[in-house]
Symmetry: C2
Subunit: 207 residues, 2 copies
Amino acid sequence: MARLEFWYDLASNYSYLSAMRIDQLAATAKVDIEWRPFLLGPVFKEQGWNTSPFNIYPAKGAYMKRDMQRIAVQRGLRFQLPEPFPARSLLATRLALLEEADDWTRNFCKSVFIAEFALGEDISNPDILSNILVKLGVETAEALATAQSPALKKRLREHTAEAIKKGVFGAPSFITEDGELFWGDDRLEQALAWQSNQSTYSLKEKE
Amino acid sequence: MARLEFWYDLASNYSYLSAMRIDQLAATAKVDIEWRPFLLGPVFKEQGWNTSPFNIYPAKGAYMKRDMQRIAVQRGLRFQLPEPFPARSLLATRLALLEEADDWTRNFCKSVFIAEFALGEDISNPDILSNILVKLGVETAEALATAQSPALKKRLREHTAEAIKKGVFGAPSFITEDGELFWGDDRLEQALAWQSNQSTYSLKEKE
């Protein structure tokens, strides 16, 4: 089956929107989703930012909140921004990579996104993450210890480096098997259409 | 009839996308469009930028070109970026305000967008603008002189100040009668739905 890479940061609010709907849309489009968590921090640093552009540019930040509210209502989702925003997503992201199976990453990350953006919880807090792990049937203490292992730290660094190498500059991003990059929750349908060849586009060659 | 403000810069490629489709979508939604040209330059300056973010952030700029190509093909539009990008849109924008009627602004601006983004012409060149004026049946020399008048310069400054006051931070932007701001060609349908009350949103009160 065709595969589409879904690149996201657990602290990214627009990634939350995509995470909540990508499985259903992908099933309809007959596309498998590779869940690829990474850290936006190093990506933003390459652009000279030390925090989210929503914090650096207040008009953009105010707009984003209203945009999120409108879309959340339209899709029947709860939405609030956690404090602080963006949340420190490092520990949660390492946990997301505990197992290399997409199923693990998907289930864990959806729970993290809901805790953070539907309930406003602090996902840098190990207690919040432990609650999620327990519900997923995971040995909590062991998982938290493994998340601090050099192997997991390395895996996350590799993920983030791969994202940058592939041209990712924001989240969510979607990359098709033939290397097309789509950025933003509002490009998800287009990315799936491209990958599943149910596309209406005739543009398949590169510039 | 319900009215929606369409704020755009003549040098903005995503504004081109909206200009080419907004009339048809608005007719279907039974919404009148107010064409509101303004200058992004002063808006960007407020954010500390001295050119388009597509030039400041190369990964974003490269992505924008590919995104535009894909969407243009999908919609049957020609697309190329003019050199230099962004074009100096000052003279063209003043001409767009020659008459206060939406029809004048709409017809002139569509021609400018096509010259610029379909044909790659330099819209800071008075000869290019003269060609457009002639085709619209306008006394060219007089129009170009009027465009340099204090009255037109003032009108454009007021437009841009109004945009900033209303929270506009990029283009295209759409503002409904009840003050909702939508940013980006990909929010055009949502803005029209909000204004025409054919909306599926129940969120009508402010935060």
